[in-house]
Symmetry: C2
């Protein structure tokens, strides 16, 4: 059998400044790259396994999980294959097909898929629309109360800590309290926050927090975090009747290989970087200020920014595209000439981006590049 | 926060001859190690994603999945997080809680967990006991017919192609035909076969084949294969109602990162190595012959070996342990002195091992080391 060439190279995305928010928090520090080389072989995590991944002491997965639990302040922590797999497992353990859950209207598509795979009904809390798209505690409360008033038994609530469309940070603490008043457990989806900013599950009044290693914890994909309160451990981490040490929802073991090695190696680095979250937010706000100096560019979502994921409306680029010989591709191509990537090819009306992890010089260079591209074309066309 | 030292080193297992059957098929070739460095960052597979992992053309996941489908002769192939996750997804799509499935008595614990997580009842086909522990087509047929005669509606069948306790190869083709006569779909669990030996799902009359990248396909964990007949694709790969391109059982995307990069890079290597399976079987048989020259050592399971995973009864080592100052640890320690690892510390009555991928000199060295250890101690004690 003759295999095709799969083009397993990634020079462009590694060698250039990558603005894709999905990529910014998943860049590995050197320690994690070293760990990857140690634990690259198949079941390399399992040399000293006595039956359960989370209890392996060499390498110290058990020590790592203790640290991870402290890092987000939960009673128990597990790794999964991703935030989506964590959400699926919680829903699967707590709900039955046909049950209803409440989720915010900015929830990630994987929240919907986790619910759909579990055959759950979803009630959505709407955001407040253009231009803020904010999920407010008031609207969460109203939607929840209306649902209950309609005689619907809500089994579980979910809140997206920071959504992937606008980078809005929600008031988790307020919403946690609202949901707990009616004694419903709540999941906080921290895919875009855990590993970027500090998370304190108990302070935020959350029963479950889920995180994404590849998105925000400087880990190789796929790996996620599942953090929970002790009172839910018996249910969500229920043991098999046939194989007494194995946790059913984890299918025995989860992230058995390279990704967990990188997450372990990265945790000290990630624990340190969340302390500097304030600087990242400041950088993001400055970047917005620079970008909005370009006529017609406007940041959507909550202002000022409380997260590095930024959504811009960019009618000026769309205007240029109309007259440009390369049409919508011009922006991608002009950016690439300047060693900037991560804005989708052909996209000009709006885009999402992030300058997370870049230094001030890099951020200035990026903002100036956008300005230069606009000036170049606007002048030319006038 | 101060993180512990997780001991992220693996010198011992990499630098010595590792007999652990779990590790033999997951060793990465150099191409895969290079791919790991390219795609180590979080969502690195997703630079050019237009909404679905399996449709990404750069790197060519779509080309890879086509090749993978050809490699095992199925209509459609997907990657998952492991063989267990593939089994769970199939059961979840095809069965309802309370449904009954039939599985062989040598099934891996993850088959049981996948069924338990799906709340399924299992009927087990017994093996023929000591010393062969064989799953025969006759017994599979009898158990299936008895179950149906008892008025039980069997929704799905599963057969373990090669089990992890005895390394017995089952007669998949015969059992596939038996199960299809009563129109029940069947899964072949190829965790220990796909990537070591040639698999032809259609020739074996299987509706589903599942494989394990970390176990037998020279890939970093966790990654699995799900191969299926076209007629089941609509069900098992059903699309989301809310997000039209996303497959529900895959939760949108599965192995989004480092492991799939290694499996892609390894496929040409793996496709080549399965052609030499006959030599591996011959090597395993020779190794058994050498080992059985030691008095009291006996290979369990089907004879002669049809797979590299070998289970030995080793009363001679247990006898030595009784009188040894290091008790049961002596074997592990004596082997380690000789740069051989992979037999569990303290285990002497029996063990599982594999010489898969070793050359003849290495295999001779390993067999001679066992002989030397026995001679040394038996002489000493006499």
């Amino acid at each position: 059998m003759e295999c095709q060439d799969y083009s397993l190279k990634r020079y462009t995305e590694i060698d250039n400044l990558n603005l894709n928010p999905l990529q910014r928090g998943g860049v590995l520090p050197v320690e994690a790259r070293k760990a990857l080389m140690e634990f690259s072989d198949g079941y390399s995590m399992c040399d000293y396994c006595a039956g359960r991944l989370d209890q392996i002491s060499n390498p110290s997965i058990t020590g790592f999980l203790d640290d991870l639990a402290k890092f987000v302040n939960v009673d128990v922590a597990r790794t999964t294959h991703g935030a989506r797999e964590s959400k699926f497992a919680i829903m699967h353990a707590l709900c039955k097909p046909g049950d209803t859950i409440i989720v915010d209207g900015n929830a990630h598509y994987t929240t919907h898929l986790a619910a759909e795979r579990n055959k759950l009904e979803m009630i959505e809390v709407p955001n407040n629309g253009y231009p803020e798209y904010k999920i407010t505690p008031e609207m969460y409360q109203k939607t929840l109360e209306d649902t209950i008033d309609n005689g619907i038994d809500v089994k579980l609530a979910l809140l997206t800590h920071v959504d992937g469309n606008y980078g809005n940070l929600t008031d988790a603490k307020a919403i946690g309290e609202i949901v707990h008043k009616v004694e419903i457990p709540i999941i906080l989806n921290c895919a875009y926050s855990m590993g970027r900013m500090p998370i304190d599950a108990k302070e935020l009044d959350m029963d479950f927090v889920v995180g994404s290693g590849h998105k925000s914890m400087a880990s190789s994909g796929p790996i996620g975090v599942l953090g929970l309160k002790e009172e839910y451990a018996e249910n969500v981490l229920q043991l098999s009747k046939k194989h007494a040490v194995k946790e059913i929802e984890m299918l025995g073991c989860t992230s058995r290989g390279a990704p967990i090695a990188t997450m372990m190696a990265s945790l000290p680095y990630v624990a340190e970087r969340v302390k500097h979250w304030g600087e990242e937010v400041k950088n993001s706000r400055n970047f917005v200020k620079e970008m909005e100096e370009i006529e017609g560019i406007k940041q959507l979502g909550i202002r000022p920014k409380e997260h590095d994921l930024i959504r811009f409306d960019t009618p000026v680029f769309d205007e240029i595209a109309q007259k440009h010989s390369r049409r919508g591709f011009f922006l991608y191509e002009e950016l690439k000439k300047r060693n900037i990537v991560g804005i989708k090819r052909g996209q000009t009306k709006w885009f999402k981006c992030s300058v997370y992890g870049f230094n001030q010089d890099q951020i200035n260079y990026i903002a100036n590049s956008f300005k230069e591209i606009v000036n170049m074309h606007i002048k030319k066309s006038k």
